[in-house]
């Protein structure tokens, strides 16, 4: 489908296009069964950032309130990229791992299923 419109054309660039990030990307991550954090989190980071550094230096501090975070072993995570199973290399960059602008990552941590047995 397309927008019904007056005039010749109705074409616009995406408001959030990658070109507006000065070489960085905007991407998202969600930790399954940890709904204390009720939404996937949004990030801006350089494409050259190493995935392990991101997890240790950005992700973990952001999720510090959850009691599972202290026990989180990032080596054993199960990953999805854009909702498809996927295996990253932690010591490579976002770019080399194929994580790009508007990528949606999900992680599952076997054995750490949130609080109260209901994924909180």
């Amino acid at each position: 489908m397309t927008v019904k419109h007056l005039g010749e054309r109705y074409e616009f660039e995406s408001e959030n296009r990658e070109a507006r990030y000065g070489g960085d990307i905007n991407f998202y991550i969600q930790w399954e069964k940890h709904l204390l954090y009720s939404c996937p989190s949004a990030y801006r980071a350089p494409v050259e950032m190493i995935l392990r550094d991101f997890m240790e230096q950005m992700f973990k501090p952001d999720y510090a309130t959850h009691p599972d975070t202290a026990k989180l072993d990032i080596e054993t995570l199960e990953w999805e990229l854009d909702q498809k199973p996927w295996q990253p290399e932690l010591d490579k960059s976002f770019k080399d791992n194929g994580i790009g602008h508007m990528t949606y990552l999900q992680i599952r941590s076997p054995g750490l299923d949130g609080m109260f047995g209901t994924g909180i």
Binding site: V3, L6, Y10, R20, Y28, L35, P40, A42
Partner: protein, 512 residues
């Protein structure tokens, strides 16, 4: 002298609304009215447009002025008698703040929208109806601002509603709703606002919530709320007539109207989650749960309306069953979201008291007891240990409804619901199949959405680098306008007023 026979209502209406217009001759009609055909709606006879209330402009002014006299007499009494002290608890004021920040600007937007729609329609009956509604909506915005201005002297967070409306992430939800409608053609606009929003859904706002305001001692909101709703019943009736008019004019209109009903039911439902949360969490004395209100006003009254429309070939709006599945969850999920992003909210959040949790257990049952109650108790423990939980990392936001993506899968309350949509090689995220369908129907429109977290990351929000700088850009003062209720100046003032202490400095804000 023979007394002239008084005309009947139907004749009076016909005389006062028909034959007032003319066919233009210097310019073709299609040039004078360029907007009322491109959406594809076919109109054979504009005179078939009926206002079932048959309200003429003369009676309109008469009854509206009487409503205003009543309303302002009560508002004067409210202000002179320190009505702000009669509310159930100062936590209640946060519902009022959300109304002022989120709903009052919508009234003003509706005023503009109906003025535009009135100009766009070539039928005189439609133009008269839009004109009345445009004036009504301006009245609503004004009476609300007037009523709230008294509270602004005593409570924080009410100092810059217009500024907030244009900048705040949580207010982009209502703002984008109306801007989507106003940037559509006039027929879609009246379908979205008069029918889907006003007929199908605003009962949930103006009936149980305003009744709740009455129960919580808020004379100001009750009075303008019910006064506005008396106009609303006219708008709702107009909404139904607009839809029937389009459906009766041409069979080709049916699929177009159905697609609009699908879209605007879903957008309206998403928006009303905020109202549900006001009802369940922000009214210290509760009247009705969101779940009960949904059952009465949608499952009973709303569905009855769609049964009535089935004779035109209209079916229930898409995903209505998802909305019904979510009725036990949506307010709890949304409150948890407001609570954690509270550092960038112009109102306070808190963990409800035990009696309120018991009320929620009674209304919401198992799911509340196994998921949401333990989460709330955990948050309370954290707060009491001096560790009040905030999530200061910006959330993913839905490209269509602009709500942070907090919803869970319709059949799994433990699994986050995210839908990825794509247009011209760029990915976007939606909160639901309902919003993904809306995106996919008009992708060129929705790729233009200004999504607040993305705006911040691009440096377009005054250069704010984190949630605290962002709050400053919103003109919100940390822990005065934002954050936890317990211990806030609003809380401390309220306690002092209740214990008859000398009145402390009421409000620390300068004008925004």
């Amino acid at each position: 002298m023979a007394k002239a026979k008084r005309l009947g209502l139907k004749e009076r209406y016909s005389l006062m609304t028909r034959g007032l217009d003319w066919e233009t001759t210097y310019q073709p009609m299609d040039e004078v009215f360029p907007y009322d055909k491109y959406e594809g709606i076919k109109i054979i006879d504009w005179d078939k447009w009926e206002d079932p209330f048959r309200l003429t402009m003369e009676s309109y002014w008469k009854y509206q002025s009487e409503k205003e006299r009543k309303l302002y007499a009560i508002l004067d009494a409210f202000q002179q008698n320190n009505g702000q002290l009669n509310i159930s608890d100062a936590r209640y004021m946060n519902a009022v703040k959300l109304w002022l920040q989120g709903i009052t600007p919508l009234e003003y937007a509706a005023h503009r929208g109906f003025a535009h729609a009135g100009r766009a329609f070539r039928g005189a009956g439609a133009r008269v109806a839009c004109q009345m509604q445009s004036i009504d909506e301006l009245r609503h915005a004004q009476t609300q601002l007037h009523a709230f201005s008294h509270y602004n002297k005593f409570f924080n967070g009410m100092h810059g509603f217009a500024h907030l409306r244009d900048r705040a992430w949580y207010l982009s939800i209502p703002k984008s709703f109306f801007e989507d409608a106003m940037s559509a053609g006039p027929f879609e606009f009246v379908t979205s606002i008069s029918f889907a929003f006003e007929y199908v859904l605003t009962n949930l706002l103006f009936m149980p919530f305003v009744s709740g305001a009455a129960y919580n001692g808020d004379m100001a909101t009750t009075t303008f709320g019910f006064s506005a709703q008396s106009d609303e019943s006219r708008h709702m009736t107009l909404g139904l007539e607009v839809v029937k008019f389009m459906l009766e004019q041409h069979e080709d209109n049916v699929p177009i109207v159905q697609a609009w009903l699908d879209k605007w039911f879903w957008r309206g439902y998403r928006l009303l989650g905020l109202v549900g949360t006001m009802m369940d969490y922000m009214l210290p004395k509760k009247v009705m749960s969101w779940k009960e209100a949904w059952e009465i006003y949608w499952e009973e009254n709303g569905i009855a309306l769609f049964h009535d429309l089935s004779r035109y070939g209209i079916r229930l709006p898409k995903y209505h069953e998802v909305a019904t599945k979510e009725k036990t969850r949506v307010t709890h999920e949304l409150w948890a979201t407001l609570y954690q992003y509270g550092n960038a909210l112009g109102l306070h959040t808190w963990v409800p008291e035990d009696e309120e949790l018991d009320w929620m257990s009674e209304k919401y049952g198992d799911l509340f007891d196994t998921m949401y109650r333990p989460r709330l108790l955990f948050l309370r423990e954290q707060e009491q240990a001096g560790n009040r939980y905030f999530n200061n990392r910006l959330p993913m936001v839905c490209q269509v409804c602009q709500i942070p993506v907090f919803y869970t899968e319709p059949d799994d309350p433990q699994k986050q619901c995210v839908r990825i949509v794509e247009w011209a090689d760029t990915k976007h995220h939606c909160c639901s199949d309902g919003c993904a369908d809306i995106f996919n129907r008009e992708p060129e429109k929705f790729v233009q959405s200004l999504i607040p977290p993305q705006q911040i990351y691009r440096g377009d929000a005054g250069g704010a680098r984190d949630i605290f700088e962002y709050a400053e850009w919103l003109h919100l003062k940390k822990d005065i306008d934002t954050g936890e209720y317990n211990g806030s100046p609003d809380h401390q003032n309220w306690e002092a007023w209740q214990s008859q202490q000398p009145t402390p400095q009421a409000n620390s804000d300068e004008a925004a």
